[in-house]
Amino acid sequence: MLDQTPPNETKASVNGHGPLLPLELRALSFEANGRRVIDRLDLTIDEPGITVIMGPNGAGKSVLLRLVHGLIAPTGGEVFWGGKRLDRELARRQAMVFQKPVLLRRSAAANIWHALGLRGVARSDRAIRVGDALKLAGLERRATTPARVLSGGEQQRLCLARALSLEPDILMLDEPTASLDPASTLAIEELLIDAQRRGIKIIVVTHDVGQARRLARDVVFLHHGRIVEHQAARNFFEQPQSDTARAFLAGGLVL
């Protein structure tokens, strides 16, 4: 396991207004229809870089991400960001990209413009940030194209560009490349590596072992709503401690 940092130790954030790390989960639980999807999780993530959450289908990865982002409320336990409970101010410093691109029925540029408006970015700054974001994602020439007629890969790149235009401290992604071809997947991964270099903390859910190897600084392995392992990536891939993780990495069927 990684070193457990005490809760009060904090790290400076990118934007400099109060630290968001460490992310701490204390006895976090989520029940739906009488089933424990997340089962008393304790976890501390206090290093920058890319944290990958892995696990077989139904392990609770997506639900965990939504709990951490505040989209759903836990039925037990708590989430702390930098020692504080998630509030509106902290939520504004996070962004999330979903498995299936959710794009408004507007042009590519208008999608980013709209998100910046919701975050209260001044109109005068929006145009510049829209342009920068489109350029980053290689979508400048698609600016006026209706977002929903873009290809699947372009749509997900636009979603990522929109999230990055918000200049978040924390970026969360739920299986962002699950339905993309290799070229689109590579484009997304390059954007993530670049964002991570600029100091954005990234938490990405995936069940693609190759992607996890390419991206992860540390890996949280989830199974049946519990954390089976939390290790530095190198240790996890070379010497997984648990049978389930070993089986998963070997490409076996983990039930």
């Binding site: 939504r66 504004r92 962004a95 999330m96 979903f98 959710v102 408004l104 029925r105």
Partner: protein
């Protein structure tokens, strides 16, 4: 049969020569229904959007009532507004009965449920898709309503056209609160009813043709809006 052909011939002549009686009636009808639909749209968008997004006790009941009122018989809407506006009614002091304003009010009552119910449905469908993304972006409830209304704009246009089709074609409501007074509150539908019963088939037929053409135009507009929206993946 000869009578009918004669009447049809006269009707066409009334139309192509822009007969002043005919034109007056057509313009009043259009003015009443267009204004009513404009007002009903503002109300309907707000009510429908709010019903889709805000959670409050009785929300399901309100939605159910709204859907049921889509089939509100025009005569009942007319009767309701008549009671409101009659001398002994709560709004009697305004002296609005038998005026175009009264007809507009009656048609607003008739059309609001249609536009509101269709708007709610359109917004709810969109919200299902957008909810997590918008909340992740930190959208307030009012910002969510605004987003849904704009993204549902093509479906809202079709809702408005449906409302207009209903308003322009109804006879019961405008008849009761307007009174079918010549030069004041005589619309296409009430004039058709009256002229037919008087045996003045030509004018009735001419108005019927105009009404039919209006209905075709509305339907054509509906289809082109749908085609345009689906081509841009905005549907």
């Amino acid at each position: 049969m000869a009578d009918f052909l004669q009447a049809f011939h006269t009707a066409l002549r009334l139309i192509v020569t822009f007969d002043p009686r005919l034109v007056e009636i057509v313009l009043l009808s259009l003015r009443v229904s267009l204004l009513a639909v404009a007002i009903a749209s503002v109300i309907g968008f707000a009510v429908g959007g709010a019903l889709a997004v805000y959670r409050f006790p009785g929300r399901g009941a309100v939605s159910a009532v709204l859907s049921a009122l889509m089939g509100l018989p025009p005569v009942v809407a007319g009767l309701f507004v008549y009671l409101l506006l009659s001398n002994t009614g709560p709004l009697g002091v305004l002296q609005l009965l038998y005026t175009p304003t009264a007809m507009i009010i009656a048609q607003v009552v008739l059309v609001v449920p249609i536009i509101a119910a269709l708007t709610r449905q359109a917004c709810e469908d969109l919200l299902e898709e957008y909810d997590e993304q918008l909340r992740s972006l930190g959208a307030s409830s009012s910002a969510i309503v605004a987003t849904l209304l704009w993204d549902g704009r093509y479906r809202l246009i079709t809702a408005v056209l449906a409302g207009f089709g209903r308003a322009i074609a109804e006879v019961g409501a405008v008849m009761i609160v307007g009174g079918n007074i010549d030069h004041v509150t005589r619309t296409m539908t009430t004039a058709i009813a009256l002229e037919t019963s008087k045996g003045e088939i030509a004018l009735a037929l001419a108005l019927g043709i105009v009404l039919l053409l209006t209905a075709f135009a509305v339907n054509g507009a509906l289809m082109s809006v749908r085609r345009f929206a689906s081509r841009l993946a905005y549907a």
